[in-house]
Symmetry: C2
Subunit: 186 residues, 2 copies
Amino acid sequence: MRLKPSAYLILGMLRNGVETGYEIKRAVDLSTRFFWAASLAQVYPELARLAEQGYITGSDESRGARPRRTYRLTKKGETALEEWLRSGRMPSFEFRDEGLLRLFFADALPADDVTALVRRLREHAEAVDRSFREEILPLAESTSAPGFRYPLIAARLGADYYAWRAAWFAQLEDELRAQAERAQQD
Amino acid sequence: MRLKPSAYLILGMLRNGVETGYEIKRAVDLSTRFFWAASLAQVYPELARLAEQGYITGSDESRGARPRRTYRLTKKGETALEEWLRSGRMPSFEFRDEGLLRLFFADALPADDVTALVRRLREHAEAVDRSFREEILPLAESTSAPGFRYPLIAARLGADYYAWRAAWFAQLEDELRAQAERAQQD
DNA sequence: GGAAGCATGTAAAGTGTTACATGATTTT
DNA sequence: AAAATCATGTAACACTTTACATGCTTCC
């Protein structure tokens, strides 16, 4: 792989018609954030590198004192994006979930505190699920069109995941509650 | 938060009776890896830092030329671990999934290549699911005991997640196939 | 007139991975 | 005798985040 995934994220966004660094960051926050985030301090240097290496071309579109620099894919950039998408290479996968790490070590806590921990995990999953249904999915639906179907599909996967996760924790809560009641009867 | 999550991972492993850096790395690879990984080059310096700050104590248990350094939680370390577990602070959550990123940009590919991409995603989820059911879950079940129940619960969540994910991609494959057939009839 | 949003970038600090380096012990 | 596993650690590199720094434009 010539480029890192964050570089392909930028190439992909440019292919989808997003033009400036600032807009890329905004688009990421409204779409790929849940499986691939990026900060401005990543986007701007990466745009410069990609331009230097010929994957994209930039042009200055400042209006007066208001700076604005737009970018477009070159043929080389388009090819690189498609090769990456087609590549059989195992895609990288990284998951860091501090909430699950706490659950893993929850034996160190008394039962009441575990209940509270699991409740917080469920509530958080529910909140993210809501933000998907209220913000991200409607936006993805409104921008979906022939030739732009997969952003919506990815958004649905995210929404379904958080709904699934919330349900999983809710069931764990039920089991813990049932156990606590049994323990009290004894 | 005084310590970073990786430090709490180490405190938690020590609390669970794991004694050396090498063993911590092995335990992580067999249990928390799927929601929190760690490398040896992280574990050894972190053990040294935690010892320096009084969260743990180390003692040399080398036998002859074979080095071995074991660690135990101090009272301070135990308190820190429990405070972290009880803390209401929003747990960090990071997810980087190159496969989903490719799916997001799949509009750049012809239909056949998209099918292949989704198939690979499903097959990968199935492979991880299998490794859970064949290795991680049985191990978690065999080491589960009163006072050590949550590692098994976390392993179940991981296994259920990959099964869910595999099913999600399988359904997407069906939908894509159905669409392709409809398109051919026209 | 002030707040929110548009727009670009840099610097420092933190975090993590891969590769390197070494050697003993146990299993096959 | 070789291979796998136990066991510790360092150095160089890669990557990311947070904070800093600046100023215009549009909306209320």
